[in-house]
């Protein structure tokens, strides 16, 4: 695996450190107008440590993580399967394409009221929302990726006496992986955004719910600490998928 293509840039840390220092300074000197409650970075870091130490963070973070993982993996797998079928077989694309075109533009959160009636407030609700959020875009990027594979590879495989399922599994799908991973990386961040929004409005547990409780107690430090955690999680998901893609495709791209 060639990681030299993406070396770590030590200079990238400097703007972050400067921004944190500026934040600390502005908050301590009370430079923001209108009496805005704006705790310094050190207070947020202390609160984050307290949340972790007392177990509150784990208590709220782990359910969110579980929902995102379940919904994203299930939605991603289903999206890849349906997308592969649509990209490979014109008849499937012509059958499912119009339905998906109608459903795809609907924001995932817009399904929430309907799902609350249909399946109620349960653990399945946030998973279903993340599933919907992940399924459509991954389905589309997979179908596009499969269609974009150069047909000459298919011809070459056919002339070598290979069956159609093997061509799909061993030639077309692997060659579509770069496109599929682009979709997965984009939707990994989106899954976190959707779960937080869903937990804020409909689910009593998770990071979104913790943020809403903090809002009612005017605990700005807790809210910002939660935003930190979310930011890091989105980054980690995106990075993990990037590294997985590199591991699978770096040798031949």
């Amino acid at each position: 695996m060639n990681l030299q293509r993406h070396p770590v840039n030590p200079w990238g840390a400097i703007p972050v450190v400067l921004a944190l220092a500026l934040w600390e300074l502005v908050a301590r000197l009370g430079l923001l107008p209108g009496g805005i409650i704006f705790p310094p970075f050190s207070a947020v870091a202390r609160e984050l440590y307290e949340l972790a130490r007392t177990g509150v963070l784990a208590q709220n973070f782990l359910p969110s993580l579980k929902r995102v993982l379940l919904g994203f993996v299930a939605g991603g797998l289903a999206g890849m399967i349906v997308g592969t079928a649509m990209g490979w077989k014109r008849q499937v694309n012509e059958t499912l394409g119009p339905i998906l075109s109608l459903l795809y533009p609907i924001p995932a959160l817009a399904w929430l009221p309907l799902l609350m009636i249909w399946i109620g407030i349960s653990e399945f609700l946030p998973v279903a929302i993340v599933f919907i959020c992940s399924f459509f875009p991954i389905c589309y990027t997979t179908a596009t990726g499969i269609r974009n594979v150069d047909r000459r590879y298919v011809d070459a495989a056919r002339s070598l006496g290979t069956s159609e399922p093997r061509i799909l599994a061993e030639v077309v799908f692997p060659l579509a992986l770069p496109d599929i991973f682009t979709g997965l990386r984009l939707e990994a961040g989106m899954a976190w955004r959707v779960i937080i929004a869903a937990e804020m409005v409909a689910i009593p547990t998770g990071m979104g719910a913790l943020m809403m409780r903090s809002e009612s107690l005017i605990r700005v430090d807790t809210i910002i600490a939660c935003l930190f955690v979310l930011s890091i999680m989105c980054f980690c998901f995106e990075r993990a998928l990037f590294l997985l893609e590199q591991k699978i495709t770096a040798e031949w791209r």
Binding site: D150, R152, Y153, D155, A156, A157, R158, S159, L160, G161, T162, S163, R166, E170, V171, P174, L175, T249, E251, W252, R253
Partner: protein, 347 residues
Amino acid sequence: MPTVELRGIRNFGCQGTNLEIQPNQLLVLLGPNGAGKTTILNVIAGLVQYEGGVYFDGAPVDGLPARDRKVGYVFQDLVLFPHMDVRSNIAFGLRGNGHTEHEVIARVSDLLDLLAISHLAARYPTRLSVGEKQRVAVARALAPHPSILLLDEPFNSLDSQTSLHLRAALKSLQRELGITTVFVTHDLAEAEEIADRIAIIENGVVERVGTPAEVLFSPPGPRARDYVGSSNVLGCVTSKRLGFGLAVADCGGLCLVVPQNGKEIRKVAISPRDVRVSVQRPSTDVNVFEGSIRATNRLPGSVMTHIDVDGADIVAELPHSAYESSRLSPGTPVFIELCLTKLRTSD
């Protein structure tokens, strides 16, 4: 290995194509871009729709999908699977086709040795030179023991030296395996070098089929001549045997040493590309003549130079750079050398 026959093939690229390829022969399809050469290969491989009939050993194969035709295909851009290393590329056509893993490993190993690419086995195509990719593509096509081998301008993007080497290797391999082979090119010199027979293709129709010498001595129509390059064909009145497979032929006033296969020589031909022109006298005396440039015809890639040699009009094809650097122009006295190994004779 089977006889391949195409009868009245019609589709977007073929206009009633008829062609017969003898078993174990290497047939070259020669023609300009867009003539329908690749389409003919795709028809034989079963990769495109067509009307008409394709027959292997007299049996129609039109109902057979590509994967059941037992045809090895080396595509113009080679299309090696980029996500597989060389070993996996070659093994691809064997796996899942009733071969045991032991057989697959043995066959791949044999082909790696045959094509002299064992040292590349673990490399991915992106880490191979063009010449190495060509060898891998040939090995991959041969792996499933095809009855017919199709090669679509496989040496197109190579330098002349590597191309020459690979052509020789391919010809020797084809003879060794005795596999019916169809090779597409638009280069007459390449065709002449490796072909048992040449088919001139133009507008999706086979204009002429024959041995390289037959094609050289009987050039096709005027449009085909633009790309094939009209040969210098000289009528010979007498010939004298020298032994060692050589003879002297008196061709329109030029005494030429020519290859001889025992028959009386009536015609001698040489491609304009094989006529060497120089201002200084060459180091050899064999088939070297003095003349002067009579006229020139500038083409996009070369200058067709007509040289008057004792009344005979010899055409030489020179690259622009060579023509300019030698300060040639009509009237310039020059020496020409007709390379012995490039001369073709006819009785």
